[in-house]
């Protein structure tokens, strides 16, 4: 057995080995299920929910270096429970996985860390907020999530960033209850899409001072996909107008889309299945897979009709379960920058 297979199995249920992300659609025995009545409240929902099977703290940032080049940075901590609840020491059923990446037009650096819960190697503290795995961490320097530092390191890269929120936390879906399929699969989901970012990205050629925008996603569930869904395409778009658009499409027997229009002041407007239109325009071949790295994204009800294009189409995350994640540029009815995540290819 290699660790990759093991991890794939841990994070995405055993029978899903060959189908990758579709494993998220399998049964979740004994785990808590997302509840539409649940009222998201802070600071406790910044912390972990060990009774749910899977959870993530997901930061992406689109940055510009003092060398004039564009960069993307990702910092993610996943939590996966092999059974609900916590345990003592090594007996903990919680497994943590960190992914970090730096993307430029030419380069894409990825690192991964794994840890089990219960021993202090990885975890989340809700007040003052801190998530960490090994020496990677996302740490609040003030109250809530307003001001944070984020750092990570791989074999050939490192970054150290400061984040400052200029807007409020945004609840996705129905007050944080985000539906993922016609059958009712759902997750709890909120975001902080208003970070101003500054710091240093260190690449093999040396350190680069960077500034830009960041977007934090928080999501937890036990069964976010339906049986027939094989993966998703997720977009976070920051328009130059100050508005934001979160949208995703879940690929199943039929495409299931969902979107949230976020006004510059942070007021969210959720849109259910069908309002968002996603059309892949151009595919590139990465490791034998056809991955669409150019899309037409349309939300007619808001007058959005844009083309998004990857800064680096080869932004493949070759980790325990591989997926595509990278910065994109936006052109069309709106302009701006954003991040794209594609799984299940």
């Amino acid at each position: 057995m290699n660790v990759r297979v093991l991890l794939l199995a841990i994070f995405w249920a055993n029978q899903a080995l060959t189908q990758g992300f579709s494993g998220l659609g399998t049964e979740a025995e004994g785990f808590a299920m997302p509840d539409p009545q649940h009222v998201i409240s802070f600071p406790q929902d910044h912390g972990a929910h060990p009774d749910f099977r899977i959870e993530w703290w997901y930061l992406t940032a689109t940055l510009e270096g003092d060398d004039g080049a564009q960069y993307g940075v990702q910092w993610t901590l996943f939590r996966s429970a092999m059974r609900p609840g916590e345990g003592e020491g090594w007996q903990s059923p919680q497994v943590w996985m960190g992914h970090a990446a730096v993307t430029s037009a030419e380069e894409h650096h990825v690192a991964e860390r794994l840890a089990r819960g219960g021993i202090g190697q990885a975890g989340v503290i809700s007040t003052p907020f801190e998530t960490f795995i090994d020496d990677w961490q996302m740490l609040a320097t003030g109250a809530g999530l307003e001001d944070m530092t984020v750092r990570a390191r791989g074999a050939d890269f490192a970054y150290d960033l400061a984040l400052h929120a200029t807007g409020p936390i945004v609840l996705q879906g129905d007050r944080g209850y985000s539906v993922k399929s016609p059958g009712g699969q759902a997750s709890h989901y909120f975001s902080q899409p208003f970070y101003e970012v500054s710091g240093v990205v260190t690449l093999p050629d040396g350190p680069v001072a960077v500034t830009g925008q960041g977007w934090l996603d928080r999501e937890w569930s036990s069964q976010p996909l339906a049986e027939d869904q094989s993966g998703w395409d997720w977009f976070s778009l920051s328009f130059d107008t100050g508005a934001r658009l979160m949208g995703f499409g879940l690929r199943g027997a039929a495409l299931f889309t969902s979107a949230t229009w976020i006004a510059p002041d942070g007021t969210p407007t959720p849109y259910g299945d069908g309002a968002l239109q996603l059309t892949p325009l151009n595919h590139v071949e990465i490791e034998g897979r056809e991955v669409p790295t150019e899309w037409r994204v349309a939300l007619p009800v808001r007058g959005v009709d844009v083309t998004v294009e990857a800064l680096n189409p080869q932004a493949w995350m070759g980790v325990s379960f591989p997926y595509w994640e990278g910065p994109i540029s936006i052109a069309g009815s709106h302009t701006g920058r954003g991040y794209l995540e594609m799984t299940g290819y």
Partner: protein, 798 residues
């Protein structure tokens, strides 16, 4: 058609066919058996080297050998260092003691857990949670006891005696939360703080004495040499049988050729025949070889475990490649054996008389060549022995010596017979001697085979015997104390010593610390200044007043292995630990220990080393009072079974280990001798059928058949006696090479050679017995032969 005609020969001589097949099969069996064992061991080493247990990664350990505090592990991870925790230890499950290794698959280096082709063998949830899963080598049966046991999953590739499981399971079974050590992954992120800034743990390189394949190389070379010897002996059988069969078929060849069969077709048919026989006999041989290997493997495993601490499995896997190579070897051997005979057929003039003549009749010229070849081989052997220093040189020396002796045998026997025939008077004795000389070419191959087997036997048993005798003497010297007590801790040991002090003659702490001696891992022992050591410790060489100097902390004693490896003699400095270098005061013998060792004054050890282990105590006491002391100890201290052992038990355990070590050598010895006996039987049987023309006239002159049979039997025994006499010096030379050259390189100790004449007599008995058995059948045939048969010799005279 030609082939069928040729094959009909075997139908008329089934005995010959059986001999040929058996010879080839036996040769192949022993050769491929040994190869199977070697291959199995190689696989085991490869597996061991690939696993985390082999220390192929650097480790972080505490200086005192205690578990690594969890906080230290977390501090390292939080500083960015990629280290992986391992909880290891021993567990007793039922009657078996297992090595338990708990790893963290999330942080461990890739490829630690077993995998089948592209498929995960592990149910991750089952592996990481609940009772967990544990991998063990297939074929073991673990009887669970009361504790909550993991589910045992048999998996190819796990070292025998090892349970590989998740850290959480190991933590539970060993009741230890903190890692035993941390594995340092080879690839670390850029820009990490220095290790010393993050932790006070000690970085440990993979230790060199675990390089099993290097250590055990000599042992496997040894096995291979034995296998080759057996194969050579087997080929002698094949060669003589094929030669005979070809010789007997000369009329057939002539007739076939005269009938118009082209030479090429005839030779082709013969090659097909030989190949077919080789294929069948080779398959049987490979089959037998598998069983030979399966039967010997437990002994081999035992040997390797006691000599080198190497664990190989006791069960054998069937490998197609190995079987293929075995078949190929059988075929090559058969072709080699048949080459001469086929060559003769190819060159046979078409109209040559078809009269059978004694085959392979050696001319005087041929004999001179033999002598020259033998002398050249002796020369090679001498040069290899003198310049050697490597295992290969040692074995070259051995091989050349053996082959040279074998080549030399027929001329020597002939010379002896010639000498005897000048001494005897009377027609019958003279005839016997003359006839024996006449017979010699036909028997010489078998006698050479016997010589090889006998010499190997003498050599190896002398080596093992010398070793055993030396070892026993050494044990008696070294294990001089009457009782040995192992306490649970240093503190308890101190209490025990304090309590016993007034009751016994002396309490001698056995104190040591793990260290790096002259750069390699080894133990440094501390010894109290006591007459026990001064009187009994087995020194090889030492400076004057060495024990006074030792007690004063001025010198260190080192074991022979260290002395030979590092080239250290008394007076040379040896580095014992950081900041402690002492001159060597003496060298002592230390058999059965593959690593270097040193001894210094007890007080010096306690002063200069951390983590001194002092749980063991040797007790000098009047043997009469042993029982009382044992009772007191067990009464006062809660000592487990085996914590108090008397001298006798320690000695017996050591001797058991020793005997286990050489069991496989003994087994191979017997097998080789058996094959040689069979070679003799084969030769005698074939000769018997050919020798009627020689015997019939004697019968016609009035000798009874019974008398003739006795003469035949006596003649064979005489030849065996001569062979044995030649084998003795050859065997002793062999033993000397083994002891003085091979052992030094292979084990790191030199041994005095001792002679065991009783063994030689026993061997003579065995040789006589096997040759008597071999000769009895043909002699019996002569005894029972109808007179008409003998008469036919005259009527058939061509």
């Amino acid at each position: 058609m030609a082939l069928l005609t040729l094959l009909s020969h075997w139908r008329r001589h089934p005995g010959q066919l059986v001999t040929l097949m058996l010879g080839l099969a036996l040769a192949t069996a022993l050769w491929s058996g040994v190869q199977a064992i070697n291959e199995e061991a190689r696989q085991s080493y490869a597996r061991a080297a690939a696993s985390v247990t082999a220390q192929s990664y650097d480790r972080l350990v505490t200086p005192d050998g205690q578990p690594v505090p969890m906080a230290d592990y977390i501090a390292l991870r939080r500083a960015g260092w990629l280290v992986s925790p391992v909880i290891g230890g021993h567990v007793q499950i039922g009657a078996e003691r297992w090595r338990l290794l708990g790893i963290d698959p999330l942080t461990a280096p890739q490829g630690i857990l077993p995998q089948a082709a592209g498929e995960s063998l592990v149910d991750p949830t089952a592996f990481l949670t609940g009772p967990g899963q544990a991998f063990v080598t297939p074929g073991v049966n673990i009887v669970s006891d009361q504790r909550e046991m993991p589910n045992f999953v048999p998996v190819e590739g796990i070292a025998p005696g090892l349970i590989l499981t998740d850290l959480s399971v190991a933590a539970r079974l060993l009741d230890q939360q903190d890692p035993s050590f941390l594995t340092i992954l080879p690839d670390q992120p850029a820009g990490l703080p220095a290790l010393a800034e993050v932790t006070s743990l000690t970085r440990q390189q993979p230790s060199e004495d675990r390089d099993l394949s290097r250590l055990t190389q000599s042992f496997h070379l040894n096995l291979t040499a034995f296998g080759f010897l057996s194969f050579a002996v087997g080929l002698f059988i094949v060669h003589s049988t094929i030669g005979l069969a070809f010789e007997q078929r000369r009329p057939v060849f002539r007739t076939l050729r005269a009938l118009g069969l082209p030479l090429g077709r005839l030779v082709g048919a013969l090659m097909v025949e030989v190949t077919g026989i080789a294929l069948i006999a080779g398959s049987v041989g490979v089959f037998l070889g598998y069983f030979v290997a399966a039967a010997l493997l437990p002994d081999v495993a035992g040997t390797l475990r006691s000599l080198y601490g190497a664990d190989i499995g006791g069960s054998l896997a069937f490998r197609p490649l190995w079987a293929g190579v075995g078949l190929l070897i059988a075929m090559l051997g058969a072709w080699l054996s048949a080459a001469q005979a086929v060559w003769k057929v190819a060159r046979m003039p078409l109209l040559a008389p078809a009269q059978p003549r004694a085959w392979a009749m050696a001319s005087a010229k041929g004999r001179r060549w033999q002598v020259a070849g033998a002398l050249a081989l002796f020369g090679t052997s001498g040069v290899a022995g003198a310049t050697g220093g490597s295992l290969i040189a040692g074995f070259l020396c051995l091989g050349a010596l053996l082959l040279g002796a074998a080549l030399m045998l027929p001329p020597v026997v002939s010379l002896i017979l010639a000498g005897l025939s000048r001494m005897v008077r009377g027609a019958l004795p003279e005839w016997i001697l003359a006839d024996t000389r006449q017979q010699l070419p036909g028997l010489s191959l078998a006698l050479m085979a016997l010589l090889l087997a006998l010499s190997a036997n003498v050599g190896v048993s002398t080596m093992v015997g010398s070793f055993r005798q030396t070892f026993l003497g050494w044990l008696n010297q070294r294990l001089v104390s009457e009782l040995y007590v192992t306490a649970a801790s240093n503190g308890q040991a101190e209490e025990i010593r304090a309590m016993l002090a007034p009751m016994v003659d002396a309490t001698l702490p056995i104190a040591y610390a793990e260290s790096r001696i002259a750069g390699a891992p080894g133990r440094v022992y501390g010894v109290a200044d006591h007459a026990t050591y001064r009187e009994y410790w087995p020194m090889i060489v030492s400076v004057p007043h060495v024990w006074d100097a030792l007690a004063a902390g001025q010198v260190a004693l080192i074991n022979e292995q260290l002395s030979l490896r590092e080239g250290l003699s008394p007076g040379d400095p040896v580095r014992l630990t950081n900041g402690l270098t002492l001159p060597v005061g003496g060298v002592y013998s230390d058999y059965g220990n593959p690593t270097g060792q040193a001894m210094i004054a007890l007080s010096l050890l306690r002063d200069r080393f951390d983590d001194v282990q002092e749980q063991r105590t040797a007790i000098r006491i009047d043997p009469e009072r042993r029982g009382a002391v044992i009772a007191t100890l067990q009464d006062r201290f809660d000592l487990p079974d085996g914590a108090v052992v008397d001298q006798e038990r320690v000695k017996q355990a050591s001797i058991d280990v020793f005997d286990q070590t050489f069991r496989v050598t003994g087994a191979l010895n017997v097998l080789t001798l058996a094959v040689a006996g069979f070679a003799l039987l084969a030769s005698l049987m074939t000769l018997a059928t050919m020798r009627l023309p020689q015997v019939a006239p004697l019968w016609a002159l009035g000798q009874t058949r019974a008398r003739l049979a006795w003469i035949e039997l006596g003649r064979s025994l005489g030849l065996v006696l001569i062979t044995w006499a030649v084998a003795l010096p050859v065997g002793l030379a062999l033993a000397w090479v083994l002891l003085a050259v091979v052992n030094v390189v292979a084990f790191g100790w030199r041994l005095p050679m001792m002679l065991f004449p009783l063994d030689w007599v026993r061997l003579l008995g065995l040789a006589v017995l096997s040759s008597a058995l071999a000769a009895a059948y043909p002699a019996l045939g002569l005894l029972r032969m109808p007179p008409a048969h003998l008469l036919k010799v005259f009527s058939n005279e061509r």
